[in-house]
Chain length 456, copies 2
């Protein structure tokens, strides 16, 4: 095993290449960077921000994958990284399960990769592989490709879906935890010095538990014996999905300590938007757009409802404050993380990947004003605080050069999403917009009454 590791390392140095693997929804996306510059810790230059309004001109095709993974893969490729996408297409399978596909007509992975080659001249490999199950294939891939970085998006990512029922709770834990552990074990076994960049969630912190600004990953405490210590922020996950990200954090901590695995964990806020400067280049590159009660993120769902002229569905009072980030910045943040690995021996590096915090009710009001629809306050299917304040540090990404897209000064991006939503509105199954998963049996019973109530 050592021999394989050393041989691989040797080959790698002589070849002077870098490979990034990143996991889209239950899947990996990976690639090389021929520029060999990722070990510099200097701020990375950015593409200019997405222009405020983009021409909506994508004729429908078919298929779909990786709301965050796909645009991130394109951005990494554009920035000069050689990308291999590894994905078992589970997100498409979940579309089948839920009877609700992406609003945007996304292409098959084969078509997407071919289109990107045409548009950019850059090659991306696609490998169909289940990170949570196909362990041997993953190790072999690492040995063959000698990646510098693995970007790990390979997790079931919807909190409502994870609360839907026994099957989904079990799938989310089995898939997410086994996937992360397999990846860590494969990195150790490969003998390669691979940097793992993992997409986590702001939800690991809980919302409004601390009473102050949420720091980036760690807090300073005094342990019972009086010894000061920097510990992982206490885990207050709000769903089975969020819990798996907390479990991931402990796995990262252990393999980092025991095997020296380099890890960057990105605690991301709620993503909004659909296209990026890369996905907009060709209709076959269009990103997926989820509007359903399980996978639709809140602002996108509101915009979609506004475009359809139906009332916005706010859960509870709308007093929940959450962190938000535009999909274009998701890709940028991942690239910054890839380009700034921790030092050898450094503990797990944690960044809060958010642009700003906003109240859900304020977002609804904003979209309602823009579109003229009303707001329907539904009983909350989730078990969460009705109201909370939220202040979050994001100094690390800002220090590395991120100038995030803020909603206030980029209102045109709402129009862009709205245009997409209108364009494909005939693909919408309206009843799928309503909440379809309930946090526990009590909530389900309460919400049953609720769904009989009309627009308020």
């Amino acid at each position: 095993m050592h021999l394989v590791g050393f041989a691989a390392l040797e080959k790698r140095v002589s070849a002077q290449r870098q490979l990034f693997i990143l996991c889209a929804q239950l899947s990996l996306i990976s690639g090389y960077n021929n520029q060999n510059n990722h070990s510099n810790r200097s701020p990375t230059p950015f593409l200019p921000s997405l222009p405020p309004s983009l021409p909506p001109s994508f004729p429908p095709t078919a298929g779909g994958d990786g709301f965050c993974g796909w645009p991130t893969a394109l951005y990494l490729s554009e920035k000069g990284h050689d990308v291999i996408i590894v994905d078992n297409l589970s997100r498409r399978n979940i579309d089948n399960e839920l009877g609700c596909v992406s609003l945007t007509p996304i292409s098959s992975m084969e078509t997407r990769v071919a289109a990107w080659k045409q548009v950019s001249g850059k090659t991306m490999k696609f490998i169909n592989l289940d990170v949570a199950k196909d362990y041997q294939e993953m190790v072999q891939l690492f040995i063959d490709e000698e990646p510098d970085t693995v970007v790990h998006f390979a997790e079931q990512r919807a909190a409502p879906y994870s609360q839907k029922g026994a099957k989904q709770k079990r799938y989310t834990v089995d898939n997410n935890v086994s996937g992360t552990n397999n990846l860590l074990v494969a990195v150790v076994e490969s003998g390669l010095d691979i940097h793992i960049v993992h997409l986590g969630t702001m939800g690991v912190y809980g919302y409004g538990t601390s009473g102050g600004e949420i720091p980036e990953g760690y807090i300073d405490v005094i342990l019972p014996g009086g010894r000061p210590s920097s510990i992982l922020h206490p885990a207050y996950p709000g769903s089975v999905y969020h819990t798996t990200k907390c479990l991931d954090a402990l796995l990262f901590q252990f393999y980092n300590k025991n095997d020296g695995v380099k890890v960057t964990d990105l605690h991301q806020g709620i993503v909004w938007g659909t296209n990026t400067p890369q996905t907009i280049k060709d209709e076959r590159l269009i990103n997926r757009f989820d509007y359903d009660g399980d996978y639709g993120t809140v602002l996108n769902r509101f915009i979609m409802q506004g475009a359809l002229g139906v009332p916005l569905t706010v859960y509870g009072t709308g007093g929940q404050t959450r962190g938000f980030i535009h999909i274009t910045d998701t890709a940028k943040c991942v690239e910054i993380a890839v380009s700034n690995p921790p030092q050898a021996g450094e503990k797990v590096q944690i960044f809060n990947q958010i642009a700003e915090t906003l109240k859900v009710g304020d977002l609804a009001k904003l979209v309602a004003e823009k579109t003229g629809v009303s707001i329907n306050f539904l009983k909350n299917p989730r078990l969460e605080s009705a109201e909370n304040e939220l202040e979050v540090a994001n100094r690390k990404f800002r220090g590395l050069g991120l100038d995030p897209i803020l909603l206030d000064s980029n209102m045109g991006l709402i129009d862009e999403v709205r245009t997409i939503a209108s364009k494909y509105s005939e693909r919408c199954v309206r009843e799928k917009i309503l909440p379809a998963s309930f946090w526990n049996k009590k909530r389900e019973a309460e919400c049953e009454v609720n769904t009989l109530v009309g627009n308020k």
Copy 2:
């Protein structure tokens, strides 16, 4: 689903019975208590402590299972609980994998259960079921049997085994995490008010990190915003196995908060001894005794080595301090926990299940003096602090009546283990005593040199 839950609850109340399910190694053991008294929070009366010396008179038979689970099942049965054992016999399969069976010739589960019926007049069911995989069977079992309590031992429990290689790391995480999550989901889906008693480990705290007495599960800290909070003790697991117990803790926390599942988590120290007042009653009831580098617990391993007249193998300096508990007290503690469930709405209840803390080197010295063998200091195959102090609170069990067996005043128990070890010494595969798993590749390389070194 609601209907099933309510129907089951109704049946349960009218039947006035209680069921305990406890998980032996990768398995469940379960049963009823016809006395219907477990909701009283008063201290539970104990069996008298194991007498200092026990007659060793077990002729060899074959097979093996559940070092902690089996004697606990017998003790619960003797105390009047109706016990169902659920086990997939994975521990026996691991014996096959490692080429090293229990030193004591343990009977098949069928023989054990039949023998217990003869000896005690009490019936225990045995069901072969994999908690990590056979989810539907587990839910159906709950609906059919309406348990009050599930005692969850269903995890791969050896730290060295969990570090052995990719296969074992993956198995430990997949099995332990999926098993715990399946159990929690099944409890929620059953609609029954089931109390889960889980066997955790002292190893979740790390050793010597706090500088003071380790409290029982929670510590008081000031969060970044200045808000005081009681949080789970920070997780500092020392192996993949220990990490899974930290992951369990977060799963318990979530399902407790979201679904009101009642959980008691027992952070147990290192278990020593082999027989209990119940297993000693018939040769077919004999408990398993692991002496190998992967599953043998440290004091038992030393006693075994003393009995064989071979040098004791101390890892590192022997300066590691650990918590210890005798197997008889393991069973007692579980019974106390079963009889003292948390109140409805109460957070996860955590007890430290240890009798005392002892230095590994002192244990070696004690056994060396008793047996006249020398001590061989091996390079440590583990990644752990060479020396640590350890002070642990165990006030909760003491407050509920536990008067634990302490080594100093029960030296006869060492003789008892030694007699067992001598009696079955011809079953020992001596080379299996040495460490066979290494925490990482660096340790493995260091220890390779080490194994060539003879007795010091």
